[in-house]
């Protein structure tokens, strides 16, 4: 029985180890912290495996990883590292930007830097959506925010990425 349970835990969580590490790495922006966070997350996941209701293990595991990463951030960067006021940040302009965004293969490092510089709450939804391919519904449950907030954070995150990247491209063109 116990070894069945262990096998089930391995089946549910091990396929998503890369996803777990990727999320931890983007949230903490530190490779050593990311390893600690993933280890802690697997430990917690084992402890709370009873609360796993079946289905896709990925959003569930990523939720545990996210909590562990936020605990790490609060401990090492202070509580302000994870606070965010959606209303305050929602005053960005929503006008169309007709400028064309041109990205080449050689811009990968720029894209990585731009994403790393995004505020945490915008960065996490971009990573969950663009890098991990989660649905809005899954992100809403995982981040514990309404779907409307998922939508607006993604929209703002992308706008900020474009602005930052437009800056890089502009420098290139000089």
């Amino acid at each position: 029985m116990e070894s069945d349970e262990r096998r089930r835990f391995a089946d549910v969580t091990l396929p998503h180890l890369d996803a777990a590490y990727n999320l931890a790495r983007w949230l903490t922006r530190d490779e050593h912290a990311a390893e600690d966070v993933v280890q802690e997350a697997y430990l917690r996941a084992a402890r709370y495996f009873g609360s796993f209701r079946g289905g896709d293990g990925r959003p569930w595991l990523l939720g545990v990883v996210r909590h562990a990463a936020f605990d790490w951030l609060k401990r090492h960067r202070g509580p302000s590292a994870v606070s965010f006021d959606d209303d305050l940040h929602d005053r960005g302009d929503t006008s169309a930007d007709p400028q064309q965004l041109v990205l080449r293969k050689s811009d990968e490092a720029s894209v990585r830097d731009a994403l790393a510089e995004l505020p945490l709450p915008l960065r996490e939804v971009i990573v969950l959506r663009e890098l991990e391919g989660l649905s809005y519904q899954e992100i809403a449950v995982l981040v514990e925010i309404p779907i409307g907030t998922v939508m607006s954070r993604l929209s703002r995150g992308r706008r900020q990425l474009q602005q930052r990247l437009a800056g890089y491209v502009g420098e290139d063109a000089k």
Partner: protein, 263 residues
């Protein structure tokens, strides 16, 4: 639909997450507005750029090996401690955790969880203390900050398969500061946070199968005072560093207010 409306929906449109009606409206607008159409193209370029494999970090081999080893170790611990039949369901996650602990060596809070006695309540007591300590340590006392029980109660309804009773004790000197989701004994529970002066009181509550109410029981652990009771199909654990008298007063009031049907 004007440009501003479309700009707000464009991201969700590109993700295919917009409902059909709005989708069609956005599509119609894009056909006639070159500026918004360019914005949509930019979103697609960004999406392509973010799909670059180099942006996705893979778990280092050492980490992978460690996690695998922990699982194997967990199996050994579980087999070694195999206590027999059914009632040890709770041992499983703990044994797994023990395996991880051996390999990874995480902090002291787990020591609390693992050094448990035989009796069922001895175990839950440790969870309660660990939960209380953790809530104070990581500045994670409340997920929903509100002194209004009409805010706190519905917040739980969306997250748990039960709805806790949240009495208003502010007039008696125990204002509600909020609530959060916690885990005790491997299941999600509601944690209500009340305040007395500078002391936080955590009330953990979750449904029980056991019939009937049980009288109040008192414990002290690691400098914290604990009270445990069952009432109307719910388990309650209150814990605080408050003195015994004040905590007793709090519990008495809490029981009174939760025994009458909520207004």
């Amino acid at each position: 639909m004007n440009c501003q409306d479309v700009q707000q929906l464009l991201s969700a449109y590109a993700d295919g997450e917009l409902d059909l009606v709005h989708s069609l409206q956005v599509e119609e607008h894009l056909g006639s507005c070159p500026a918004c159409a360019q914005s949509e193209k930019n979103l697609r370029s960004l999406h392509t750029a973010l799909a670059a494999p180099s942006l996705r970090y893979a778990a280092p081999a050492a980490l992978r090996a460690q996690i695998h080893a922990s699982l194997d170790e967990a199996a050994l611990v579980t087999a070694g401690k195999r206590p027999g039949a059914s009632r040890e369901a709770w041992l499983r996650p703990v044994a797994l955790a023990a395996g991880f602990l051996v390999m990874i060596g995480v902090g002291a809070t787990l020591g609390i969880l693992l050094s448990r006695g035989r009796s069922a309540n001895g175990r839950i007591e440790d969870w309660v203390v660990a939960g209380h300590v953790r809530s104070l340590q990581v500045n994670h006392l409340t997920d929903v900050v509100s002194s209004d029980r009409h805010t706190v109660k519905p917040w739980f309804r969306d997250k748990l398969d039960f709805s806790p009773l949240v009495p208003d004790l502010a007039a008696d000197g125990f204002p509600l500061t909020g609530g959060r989701l916690d885990y005790l004994d491997g299941r999600p529970v509601a944690a209500l946070v009340y305040q007395r002066g500078k002391h936080a009181i955590n009330v953990f509550t979750w449904p029980t199968q056991a019939a009937g109410d049980t009288p109040l029981r008192e414990f002290s652990r690691q400098g914290f005072h604990l009270r445990e009771w069952q009432q109307a199909g719910m388990n309650y654990w209150a814990i605080s560093d408050l003195n015994d008298e004040d905590l007793d007063q709090f519990v008495r009031l809490y029981q009174q207010r939760t025994s009458a049907p909520p207004p």
